[in-house]
Symmetry: C2
Subunit: 370 residues, 2 copies
Amino acid sequence: MAGSRDSKAAEGSKEAEGSVVQQADLLCEAALTGERRALARLLTAVENRTPLAEAALRRLYPRAGHAQLIGVTGPPGAGKSTLVAALIAELRRAGRPVAVVAVDPSSPITGGAVLGDRVRMQAYAADADVFIRSMASRGHAGGLSSATSAAAAVFDAVGFDVVLIETVGTGQSEVEVAAAADTTIVVEAPEMGDEIQAIKAGLLEVADIVVVNKGDRPGAHRTAGQLHAMLADAPRDARPGRPAPKHPDVLVTTAATGEGVAELLAAIDRHRSAARGSDGESARLKRAEAQVWAVLVDRLHARVRALEGDEAELAALPDGGWAAAPAPAPAAGALLRSVAAHEIDPYTAADAILDRLVGDASGSGSARVR
Amino acid sequence: MAGSRDSKAAEGSKEAEGSVVQQADLLCEAALTGERRALARLLTAVENRTPLAEAALRRLYPRAGHAQLIGVTGPPGAGKSTLVAALIAELRRAGRPVAVVAVDPSSPITGGAVLGDRVRMQAYAADADVFIRSMASRGHAGGLSSATSAAAAVFDAVGFDVVLIETVGTGQSEVEVAAAADTTIVVEAPEMGDEIQAIKAGLLEVADIVVVNKGDRPGAHRTAGQLHAMLADAPRDARPGRPAPKHPDVLVTTAATGEGVAELLAAIDRHRSAARGSDGESARLKRAEAQVWAVLVDRLHARVRALEGDEAELAALPDGGWAAAPAPAPAAGALLRSVAAHEIDPYTAADAILDRLVGDASGSGSARVR
C-alpha cells in the first residue's frame, strides 16, 4: 500500500486530522504486530461499519483466508458458551491462537453484552493468543452475516489460526452466520421443550457436527442415539430449493468438565480436511457473497439518503400512481410516505427510486411484471 | 385496473396460459369475496415472492391500511402461541375478523410448520373470520420483514380487522418484524434462564405493552413488579442511535384460562388510540421502508443474476485488483470467486458490480473511502 509509509511518518499525532485511510493504516499496522487495543478498535469499526472499517478491510482482506472458521450454534441453554470455553482451552493446549466472535442475541436493540462473556474474557486476559469479542446482531439487511465474516477476516489477517463464531440458533440471520463457517457445530442439550424441538429440526440441516452437550445428564446418550437415527434417516438427495443433507457426526460432550472436547476438535479437523473440496468452496462463496451484498446494499442506502437530501414535492401521479410509472420520480422520503399512506404500492415506489438512482429505466422495466 | 374485465372472461380456464397479471386479478377478486383458497394461494405467492405476488400486491396494496397490526413476540416458552389463541377468542367474542401471521423459527432451513400451529388452525377451521398462516423466516436480505408486512397487507386488503403477527423474539429480523406492528406486545414467563434474561433486556426496548404470561405460576406478579420497576427506571431520553424508551404498561395474563386477556385487548386499543400520532406514523414508515427496500434488493439481485448470465473471464486486475477500480468490470460470479479466494476485497467487488449494474461509476465513487 502506497499510503503506509506516509502514515508511519504521521505516527504519534494520533489525534491529528488524518485521513480515514491513514488512520486505518496505523491501526492495521499496530494490530498486525499484535497490539490488542488496535485490534479492538478495528473490530468496533467493523461492527459499526464505519468508513475506517472499509479502509482497514481493503487492506487486511488479502492477508486473510488462512484461518479455520468454526461456527457454534444451538438453542438457548444448550451450553454453547461453556463449550466454546472448553474448545479454547483445548486449542490453547495445542498452542493454537484462537479468536471468538460471539453474536449477542440481546443486542438487536440494546447493544449490551451477554452476561457470561466478560467473565470468560477475564480468564484469558493475560493470554495474547486468545481474543474474545461480542458482536451485536443489530444492523440492516445482510449486516450480521457480513459484519461477522468481516470480523473473522480481521482476526484471520492478524494471525489467529482458529476463529470460533458463536451464535444462538433461533433467528434466521444467526443460523446463516454459523452456517457460513468452514465447519458448523450444532449444540443440543439432552432435554428440550417443544418450541425448542421445532427450532432444532431446522438447525440440524446446517450441522456438519452435532454435539449433545451436558453429557453427564441422564438421557444424553439416548438423545445422541435418537439424533443419530434421525439423521441417518434423512433423505440422501436434496429436496428442491434445500441444501443437500449433510449426515453429520453426532458426539457427546460435557463441556463443563472438558469430557469429549478433544474428540470434538479431532472431528472438526477431520471435517476440515474432508471439506477442502466443493463443500468448503461453497462456504467460502457464501461468505464472499454476504460481504459483497452488504456493501452493495450500503452503497444503495447511501444513494437513497442522497436522494432524500434533495427532497422534492411528491409529483402528482396519474391515477394515484397506480396506472403508470411516475415520471419524474419524486424524492425517496416522499415516496416512502406515500407507501405508508397506501397511496402507492412498494413496487411502484422501488422502481421510481431505482430509476432515479440508476438513471436507467429500461433495466428495471424489464424486471417488472407486465 | 384495466385488465380485470379481461381476466373475468378467462375465468374457468384457470390452467390456461394467462398472464401473471390476469392470474393475480382472478385470485384477488376471489380473495376479496372471501374465498379462502384464493387467499391461501396469494399468501403462498407473497411468502415465496413470486411475480404473482408482485402483481397481486400492486392491486391490493391501495385497499389496505385499515387493519390494526399487533406484534406478539417474546422468548421461546413464554406462551406466545397460547396468548395469540386467547386473543383470537377474545376478538371473535367481539365479532372482529382476525388473521394471524406466525413467523416460524424452525423455517430458515426446513420450511416446516410449528407443531401447535396446525392444531390451533383446526379450532377455527369453520370460522370464516379467522385465518392463521405460518410464514417461514427464510429468504434473503430484508425478506422476513417485508414478506410479513406484505402478508399483513393482503389480510388487511381483504377485510381482516386485526392482524396478529407472532414471532419468537430471539433473532434480529424476528424482533424487527414485531416492532413494525402498530402495537408490539412482549410476552415473558415468570421464570427464565440466564441466556433468556439477556434476550429479554433487548426485547423490552421494542415493547409497547409487556405481558407476564402464566400468571398462575408462583412469582408471576413479583416478575411483573420487577419489570415495572426496571422499565420505570429507564432513562427518559433516547441514547444516541437508539429508539426513545417507551415506558410500556406491564400486565399479567394466564392465556391458558383467558384471565387478563380482555384487559390486554383494552390496553392494545388504548395504545392504538394514543399512537395515532407520531409513533404510529413511524411504525407505518418503517413498514413501508422495509417493503420498498426488499423490492429494491430483489431488483438488484435480478440484475446481478443477469450479469452472471453473460459471464466473462475475470479481467486481469492491476496489482491484484487492490490498487485501482477494475475496468472493465468482470462478471459478478467471477468477482465473488475472487473475493472467496481473497484475491480482491468485498468493497472492490461491490463497486465493480455496482458500476456494471448502474453504468455510473461517478455515483458509487463518491461513496468510496479515499
